[in-house]
């Protein structure tokens, strides 16, 4: 996965709290192989009416594509389904800005290059106000943990490790395998100290 440091794009505001993973991608789409792309599944049942037609008044359904989503508190709560992140990424999103995120969702986002930027509720409101109707572009700078819009700057919260991972686009497996010797000796010690940890039917 490629890393990134800055991103400029259009933002769309979804003024809702607790947008859960079942909203982000309903379960029925989750057997689809990833190669087919998950973008069309994003918020499927909120974006479309019962006949499957896009609701014209839904924030994400505007004519211009957006790459930054601004949402309410506890975004991505619920299940561990990484498909919720795939749907956002495949729909072209690079960042979600919200007052808080589900813990597992946030970790999944980082693993797919999607920024979960934490901003206080008031700052989110101020940011949305700055956007105005014209949809001024946002500029996200991971290096300084800043979002710039219309000359205003908002600092966001992001775990240091996660920031590094996004910038470098690290693959955890490769990093971990560098510690193979320590892992192997830990394993040997664990099994020797507590024999029963190896299940034995």
């Amino acid at each position: 996965m490629a890393g990134w440091t800055t991103h400029e794009g259009r933002a769309v505001h979804l003024p809702q709290d607790n947008v859960d993973t079942d909203q982000l991608i309903p379960a029925r789409f989750m057997s689809t192989p990833r190669v087919q792309g998950y973008g069309d599944f994003l918020l499927h049942d909120m974006r479309r009416d019962d006949a499957g037609v896009l609701r014209p008044d839904f924030p994400l359904n505007g004519p211009e594509p957006a790459s930054i989503l601004i949402a309410g508190r506890n975004f991505g709560s619920g299940s561990s389904r990484e498909a919720a992140v795939y749907a956002l990424v495949d729909a072209g999103f690079r960042a979600v800005i919200a007052p808080g995120f589900g813990d597992i969702f946030a970790a999944n986002a980082i693993n797919n290059g999607l920024l979960p930027a934490r901003l206080g509720e008031r700052e989110v409101a101020a940011l949305v106000a700055e956007l105005g109707d014209g949809g001024a572009p946002l500029c996200i700078d991971l290096g300084n943990r800043e979002i710039q819009v219309a000359g205003q700057v908002f600092g966001f919260d992001l775990d240091e490790v996660w920031r590094t991972k996004l910038i470098k686009g690290w693959d955890d497996i490769d990093l971990t395998l560098q510690h193979a010797a320590r892992i192997a000796s830990f394993r040997d010690r664990r099994v020797a100290d507590t024999v029963w940890v190896l299940p034995d039917d």
Partner: protein
């Protein structure tokens, strides 16, 4: 000041700092800690299911094998048909199940497949088989992995990239969460269960209330719970935002584990139990957050909205959106609209269209017994589905004649799986229909597009079945006396 300082230094050097259960479990699995504070943890048990297909695909793309096949277990549950198992007509479902079982064969994993007599929901069969033990670190690509913490294990749900990482390395990177303790003082009133304790604390603290924390449940009302009850409580931790839930192991835990197929045997048993007894929070240990709840204040609780925090006691009135605190009114209004309910009305008496009993939250034998106690000798006024948490739970229920209670009441007795908790196998609630459900998520569309879900305990689900409406099980049981 000097004296104070030196006394402090003295204490730090000569007295060991009291630890939380979390500290002890974390310390036992930490292979290394990076400078940035992230720990690399050893994984003792890795449970995979059909949804792990993305992770196996990643592993295959790297040309890697499962690092520790003996510590990896495959379970067919999310897509498991609950009817006509021998002839799966939906090609997507058949493919999902075959993909998992094929991956398990390729990597030589112990598999609890569709036709295995031990099949069931991953969080039910881990404990049932004795794979879940105190002191272990357990991961699964499912957020309700917190269930296993009921045994004093470190257990948390992970996403597909992390599943691939565990498959490849048997380790997981994780920053240690802050420790939080929820103490339930006193005792539960009759008819009130672990489900009500969980919905009760989430209603108080909010669906994101425990984000970033590992919750240890403690206090007399927790100690008084059976293992089934403790699992229900830990299972729902994630609905309050906590990735981890845990209870210190005790005699109740050891009695539950003893003799299970994968549990330590013979001489190992005594040694294991000796070690497990040390897995408790030391007196004076620090928690980042402490919450104390009087168990006697908890009523049979159910959700009215589309977030687990939107829950009230069965005798309460549906709250006015404006009364719910800053920023929650709009969500409440949207939830009322979706749920077809009106604020200011009592929730009790709301007609339901159907009921569901099952899931990893409340699909264990004790749950079925509690529901059957309400249903025995009665007819359900609405249709309903009962899907036991595992094939062994089903077998046990049948040995006790519970299946007859459900069938005689008019409910459908089906095979085991996630079923109507998530609807991936096709067990869905139709649009606009209202379902009294023993599951864990009342999210919009969770049980099917447009489905209206009310979460509650199994006995409350049974009470809704016999009356055809959301009901107070205490009143329903009173009629019986």
């Amino acid at each position: 000041m000097l004296l104070h300082l030196s006394l402090w230094t003295f204490m730090c050097i000569f007295m060991e700092k009291p630890s939380t259960l979390l500290d002890k479990l974390w310390g036992a699995h930490e292979i290394l800690r990076r400078e940035d504070g992230t720990s690399l943890l050893w994984v003792d048990r890795h449970l995979v299911h059909e949804g792990s297909h993305h992770a196996f695909a990643k592993l295959a793309a790297r040309g890697q094998k499962v690092a520790e096949p003996r510590l990896t277990f495959a379970v067919t549950d999310h897509y498991a048909p609950t009817r006509q198992r021998d002839r799966i007509t939906d090609p997507d479902i058949a493919r999902m199940i075959e993909t998992l079982e094929g991956n398990a064969r390729t990597h030589g994993l112990e598999t609890f497949g569709l036709s295995d007599p031990r099949q069931g929901i991953v969080h039910v069969i881990g404990p049932e088989q004795g794979l879940t033990l105190p002191g272990l670190q357990i991961n699964c690509g499912d957020s309700h992995t917190s269930t296993h913490g009921a045994f004093g294990a470190l257990a948390f749900g992970i996403g597909a990239t992390e599943v691939a990482h565990v498959l490849a390395t048997q380790t997981v990177w994780q920053r240690k969460p802050a420790a939080m303790r929820i103490t339930f003082e006193g005792a539960l009133a009759p008819g009130v269960t672990a489900k009500d304790m969980a919905l009760g604390w989430i209603a108080r603290l909010g669906a994101g209330g425990a984000q970033g924390h590992a919750v240890e449940y403690a206090g007399p009302a927790v100690e008084a719970l059976s293992m089934e009850g403790r699992m229900t409580l830990c299972n729902l931790s994630i609905e309050g935002g906590a990735r981890f839930g845990m209870v210190a192991p005790d005699e109740v835990t050891f009695d539950y584990i003893k003799g299970r197929p994968f549990a330590p045997k013979a001489s190992d048993w005594e040694r294991a139990v000796d070690g497990w007894r040390t897995l408790r929070t030391d007196a004076g240990a620090d928690f980042a957050r402490e919450v104390i709840i009087d168990a006697a204040d908890i009523a049979p609780t159910l959700t009215w909205g589309t977030s687990p925090e939107q829950a009230i006691g069965i005798d309460a009135v549906l709250p006015a959106p404006g009364s719910l605190g800053a920023g929650k009114a709009a969500a409440a209004e949207a939830a009322y609209d979706y749920m077809g309910l009106t604020p200011g009305q009592p929730i009790k008496g709301t007609p339901v269209d159907q009921v569901f009993l099952g899931s990893c939250t409340n699909g264990r034998i004790e749950d079925l017994r509690a529901a059957a106690a309400v249903l025995r000798g009665r007819r359900a006024q609405v249709p309903g589905l009962v899907s036991p948490g595992s094939a062994l739970v089903k077998q046990q229920a049948e040995a006790e004649g519970l299946d007859l209670v459900f069938r005689d009441a008019g409910l459908e007795w089906a095979a085991s799986g996630c079923s109507m908790c998530v609807g991936m196998n096709g067990d869905l609630v139709a649009p606009g229909k209202r379902c009294a459900s023993s599951t864990n998520r009342n999210f919009r569309g969770r049980q099917g597009r447009g489905a209206r879900t009310h979460l509650m305990s199994p006995a409350m689900v049974a009470a809704a079945a016999v009356t055809g409406a959301l009901s107070d099980l205490r009143e329903v049981m009173q009629e019986r006396v």
